[in-house]
């Protein structure tokens, strides 16, 4: 497989609307890679700690999924193993941020994250909170192995990460994030027989269900009662198809995030707004999706840097 980031046409010379859809994946500077890896290290630690804490509560894997099908992961609930796994995960972070020994370092982080979360997901119910983090780590690990191939960084990739390797890693991470949305949209189309948007008013039932389930989790009234929204969707089906239905194309075309910096940032912000709305209405978190969109696609430090450059130019 060739490196998409390397075959970019980088066609930023086009004018008008064509420029917005130019295939020009971001070529990140080293400092951007450093900032991104620092932020990603924080997100990965949050996800691994969350899974590790949860794993302590279980001792069996009655419904194995993923890695748990291949290995008995119950040893991860041993307090000592659990603790030291997280400690070594944290010790690996400075190497990850510095780009040193990435095939081994990310391999270890991936094992801890996927192992703990697979074990937690093998209890008879599936959660999707940390999956996106694991998939991004998987993409980065594959990218780090890819760069070991002859004709690329070769054995040097075992020690340090070149700018080219860092760009490939972040490019595959972005593409993986986009793929999560695209496949979800495809599932919606297939499962609903192509009628997902038409059936959107029935989302009202899901809102009511989610709100009432949330109530029975805590027995505290939800801060924002969404009964009015459920009724609005039922009373105005056309409006429901526009409001709820817009989620489908938004997910289906999520690959546009990878096209170039401008479109990527705007599209990712739209997805963050979408997640925030769903969080408010359905009491669902999506915290890791939001973090990854902000880090990998919105990339605020780059826009601040660019803005500061412009200010500097104006002053001179």
């Amino acid at each position: 497989m060739s490196e998409d980031a390397d075959v970019s046409c980088a066609d930023t010379t086009r004018s008008g609307w064509k420029r917005w859809f130019a295939w020009a994946p971001p070529r990140l500077a080293d400092w951007e890679g450093l900032v991104m890896r620092t932020a990603l290290a924080g997100v990965a630690t949050m996800a691994a700690k969350m899974a590790a804490d949860k794993a302590l509560g279980y001792s069996t894997q009655p419904e194995p999924t993923g890695l748990a099908r291949l290995f008995d992961l119950t040893f991860l609930s041993d307090p000592s193993i659990n603790h030291w796994s997280v400690v070594f995960f944290c010790l690996a972070l400075p190497f990850y941020i510095a780009g040193i020994g990435l095939p081994v370092v990310i391999g270890w982080m991936l094992w801890v994250q996927v192992g703990m979360a697979s074990f937690c997901n093998s209890q008879g119910f599936i959660g999707h909170t940390t999956q996106v983090v694991s998939l991004v780590l998987l993409a980065q690990w594959l990218a780090s192995l890819w760069t070991l191939l002859p004709g690329r960084d070769g054995w040097r990739g075992l020690v340090t990460s070149s700018t080219r390797a860092m760009n490939l890693s972040m490019d595959w991470s972005r593409q993986t994030l986009a793929a999560c949305y695209v496949v979800s949209a495809i599932c919606k189309v297939v499962a609903s027989g192509g009628l997902w948007i038409w059936k959107a008013p029935l989302f009202a039932l899901q809102i009511t269900k989610a709100n009432q389930m949330q109530f029975y989790s805590t027995l505290e009234p939800s801060p924002g009662n969404m009964a009015w929204l459920s009724q609005l969707l039922l009373d105005h089906p056309a409006l429901a198809r526009i409001i709820i239905g817009s989620a489908l194309p938004l997910e289906l075309f999520a690959f546009l995030m990878c096209f170039n910096r401008g479109v990527g940032a705007i599209y990712a912000l739209l997805l963050v707004i979408f997640h925030s709305t769903v969080s408010e209405v359905m009491s669902l978190g999506f915290v890791f999706n939001k973090f990854l969109l902000l880090i990998l696609c919105v990339n605020v430090p780059y826009w601040l840097w660019r803005w500061s450059q412009r200010c500097g130019d104006d002053l001179t």
């Binding site: 497989m1 060739s2 998409d4 075959v7 804490d53 949860k54 509560g57 279980y58 001792s59 999924t65 993923g66 890695l67 996927v114 979360a117 697979s118 209890q123 008879g124 119910f125 599936i126 959660g127 999707h128 999956q131 694991s134 998939l135 998987l138 993409a139 490019d171 595959w172 593409q175 993986t176 986009a178 793929a179 695209v182 496949v183 979800s184 495809i186 599932c187 499962a191 027989g193 997902w196 059936k199 959107a200 029935l202 989302f203 039932l205 899901q206 009511t208 269900k209 989610a210 009432q212 389930m213 949330q214 029975y216 989790s217 805590t218 505290e220 009724q231 039922l234 690959f255 990878c258």
Partner: protein
Amino acid sequence: MLDARAEAATLGGMPVPDLLRRLPLKFTMLMVVVLYLAGEEYPFSPFPMYGDFAERAFYVYVSDAEGRPIATQKVFGQRASDVKKTFETHLRREKEALSKARGRSARLGELPPENVQKAAAATLRWLKSTGPNAPAPTQSERHQLHRVDLSLREGQIVSETGLLGEWP
């Protein structure tokens, strides 16, 4: 012969390998295929949440022996949504057992009440014996699992509650 091979390996005047190399978003396409085909095998998932909308929905909640609701997250460390997913898993197990016993595929809707009660009891047993707060402080107390069905009637959402089972 060589010319014919060379001809076959071009598309729009560009050699296929070059075309593949220049094709954008190959990793996205690969991941979409892998995620879709792998199904729910962590870390892979096709993320099928809210894939289809029906005119009915249900959820479950836990109560004490007198039917007073219990905050599952506070008491057992599990969200009500996870309790529901676990109940569905136990229901599927009962369905598989019934299908095996009958020698033909049974549907969830035709499960006899005793199988539903078994699934509810297994869910409550799981809730009290595993999870972040296990063993639950109310381990020996009797608990009940209730089902709330939501449906549409004349443009309004109506709910019906029923007892699924209890344990111990």
